[in-house]
């Protein structure tokens, strides 16, 4: 699946921010979504590579995929039931 095929309901731009802001912004934006909707996160914080999967696991949201685009990290997360 090409990552450009994933339709995101909302895009969170956390570029330039450091821990804990990418996780905090993601959590805040995810609250507004309904189960099954997709959030796209843009981050330049290398810590996000470990933190975002850990956040997804602890909150029962699903990390669909993540990849690097130049110096940026792009994450696609799907809101879970009650997540």
């Amino acid at each position: 699946m090409a990552t450009t095929d994933i339709e995101a309901t909302v895009v969170v731009d956390a570029r330039g921010l450091l821990c804990p802001m990418p996780v905090v912004k993601t959590a805040k934006a995810m609250k507004e979504l309904a189960a099954g909707q997709v959030l796209k996160l843009l981050s330049t914080d290398r810590g996000s590579v470990a933190d975002i999967p850990a956040w997804a696991e602890s909150t029962a949201n699903a990390l669909i995929e993540w990849h690097e685009e130049g110096s940026e990290f792009v994450f696609h997360l799907r809101k879970g039931q009650g997540g």
């Binding site: 921010l17 450091l18 821990c19 804990p20 802001m21 905090v24 993601t26 909150t59």
Partner: protein, 188 residues
């Protein structure tokens, strides 16, 4: 007869691990405490203001109900004047990165403390680290319990008015009542 002893266990180690793991999972699934965090902030310097605020805001973002109990010098973090009170000293802090190595004798000179504080502030600003103000605003937005230690307030002569909006007041029992129900407690 099948006698279990340390030398001759009936269950092998893997079996015991399996049982312990499944029991832990079972208790976690019925225990609300796994989703709450109770932190203590006891230090009042700019560098040490960060760990409790970062961990509490992240815990809240992970869906945990979080609280921070500010005691002793940690009260600086929620004092209305925190921007002036939170400083960092290079003296007796050999881990602090300095542009050039400096002996303690030099670090003890007047003016070195403010210089170090300015250095850390500008470095954090340059790297776009969240400020203490941003983290405090976030903490209140995420409804993190900010509890000031009443005993320290009385001992240091602070009034309720001296603290930022949203702060609650309590003692050891207020913290322990939360901590005993939390799986995550940290003393920082």
């Amino acid at each position: 007869m099948n006698v279990s002893t340390i030398e001759n266990p009936v269950l092998d180690e893997e079996a015991v691990r399996r049982i312990v793991r499944s029991e832990m999972e079972r208790s976690a699934s019925i225990d609300g405490g796994r989703s709450s965090a109770a932190l203590i902030a006891s230090k009042g310097t700019l560098d040490w203001a960060y760990p409790p605020l970062i961990l509490a805001t992240t815990a809240a973002s992970l869906g945990m109900e979080s609280s921070i109990f500010f005691t002793f010098y940690g009260l600086n973090i929620i004092h209305k004047d925190y921007e002036r009170l939170l400083k960092v000293s290079p003296l007796g802090n050999p881990a602090m990165p300095m542009p050039v190595p400096m002996p303690n004798l030099v670090l003890g000179l007047p003016g070195m403390g403010p210089i170090a504080t300015q250095m850390m502030r500008s470095k954090f600003r340059h790297k776009n680290v969240a400020t203490v103000r941003e983290l405090l605003d976030l903490a209140r937005e995420l409804e993190i319990g900010l509890i000031a230690c009443q005993m320290t307030m009385d001992a240091f002569g602070y009034k309720a008015d001296d603290f930022i909006e949203g702060v609650q007041f309590g003692g050891a029992a207020a913290f322990l009542a939360k901590a005993r129900k939390a799986h995550l407690t940290l003393f920082i």
